[in-house]
Amino acid sequence: MSTHHPSHRQPALVGWVVLGGAAGTAVRLAAEAQLPRPADLPLPTLLVNLAGALVLGALLEGLARRGADAGRRRGVRLLVGTGFCGGLTTYSTLAVEVDLLLAGRPLAGVGYALVTVLLGLAAAAAGVAAAASWSRSTGARP
């Protein structure tokens, strides 16, 4: 395969993203169908978004500490990170849910939006910290 094309123009790499994205979408679809919506709040979207932010933070930090973004590491990043975590999480559903809540229950809409974004940052940061601590304890390169 040509290596001087940027990665987004290499069909095999796009394929890893599509595969991971389909798997992430399947999990999100199952979560939206199975998880409860207490007080008609979009808990399923919140949970998949937080889970994806946590996993992506840990994955990118863990991979970066193991070496350059190439070969198998890049494949894992595209399949699990860009693909799975990106397909599992969604910003469009978050935005529409916020708007629909704002129309009837403004406080719930603002609360849902802020809680999602702030907990998302905490989850991503926790993932980064967990991967950093794991890498140190296993002696991986910093």
Binding site: G21, L29, G87, T89, T90, S92, D99
Partner: protein
Amino acid sequence: MSAVVVLLTVLAGGLGAGARFVVDGALRARWRTSLPVATTVINTTGSFGLGLLVGLALAHASPGAEAAQVVLGTGFLGGYTTFSTASVEVVALLREGRRGAAGLHAATMLGGSALAAAAGLAVGTALG
């Protein structure tokens, strides 16, 4: 939800993720910005699209419209937009000590996506 709709939704989610990867790469190659605006563009355009689909489905309720909303909305646009990358990008800006940029990135992402989705909902409802 029928098995066919589930299968098409999962497939569309994969294609949406692939589209995000290609659009992100193309935008990053063209725009050299200090803020990761490619993700903002992806999430706001995807939010407008989902608002449009939901608006159309609300105004024009039918089993076909509902299936289209699930496959194109939950599937394609759900896979196209991403919350995980948005969160990790803000954390990366914070780790670089760029608090203002981090706040700006998070705020434009949330505000821009909510406004775009509201515009989509309004257009979809008007067209429906």
